[in-house]
Amino acid sequence: MKITHETEGTAAIFTVCGQVDMHTSPELRGSLRKALEGRATPLVVDLGQVSFIDSSGLATLIEALQAVGRYGGKLRLCGLAPDVRKLFDLARLSTIFDLRDNRDAALK
């Protein structure tokens, strides 16, 4: 898994590439934590290049959602591939997260 991080005004954008599982989700959690400490909003996580995500990855994103909520910020996920989107549906998380088609839509 690879993560790149950019900022745009108050927004923080994380682009995640590869597979997110028990082995790699701690790295994602650590990356997001820095933006959460800086109260970034919107916090955008681009999952367009994620080929696989498991419950530990979903848990990491739920933690981030709860953290941004505590300071009144927004978390937006974008670019989900159909297979990844199906997992969100399976876990009944599609309506909990703000899912956007792409990064531009996530930054609006």
């Binding site: 597979q19 082995h23 498991d54 419950s55 739920i62 997992l87 876990a91």
Partner: protein, 156 residues
């Protein structure tokens, strides 16, 4: 020629539709576990969507063994077995730790939005049969079954 174990010839027989092996309990091997799963599914004639469900279920199950049976120790053994038969694929994951009561790793209600507790739900919602039994090593064997429609014979 039959040897004292009843085997024919000089080599032990190996069922062609059964794959088995052992990997260390380090989470870095999870992509390898998924790769084996998807290849085993393809060899069993399982279509891609179902194979993705299998990858998810085995990832969750394997992660539970590392977390709950081995308490994140990275040097313990996890045995696995895939067995394809007409209409179903059986996957067994076996640890050598102590028996883990499945209720300790129970699923959470999905209307409670909090991290954790999703893994068991994902296993149960993607597999047809899920059973935990105590194994001969004193640990836990998880038996997962996915039933599949028999592949059509392209020559018929």
């Amino acid at each position: 020629m039959t040897d004292t174990t009843g085997r024919q010839g000089d080599h032990a027989a190996c069922a062609p539709d059964r794959l088995e092996g052992t990997l260390p309990s380090h989470p870095k091997y999870l992509p390898l576990v998924r790769a084996i799963t998807v290849e085993a599914a393809e060899l069993a004639g399982i279509e891609t969507e179902t194979a993705r469900h299998l990858m998810l279920a085995i990832t969750e199950a394997w992660s539970n063994v590392i977390r709950h049976a081995y308490h994140n120790a990275e040097d313990q053994r996890i045995d696995f077995r895939f067995e394809a038969s007409p209409g179903e694929l059986l996957i067994e994951i076996e640890d050598h730790a102590t028996w883990v009561d499945p209720s300790r790793i129970a699923s959470r209600p999905l209307d409670q939005i909090r991290p954790g507790g999703l893994g068991v739900h994902l296993i149960q919602s993607t597999m047809d049969d899920v059973a935990y039994t105590r194994n001969e090593h004193g640990g836990t064997t998880l038996r997962l079954v996915k039933r599949v429609a028999p592949a059509e014979d392209p020559t018929s």
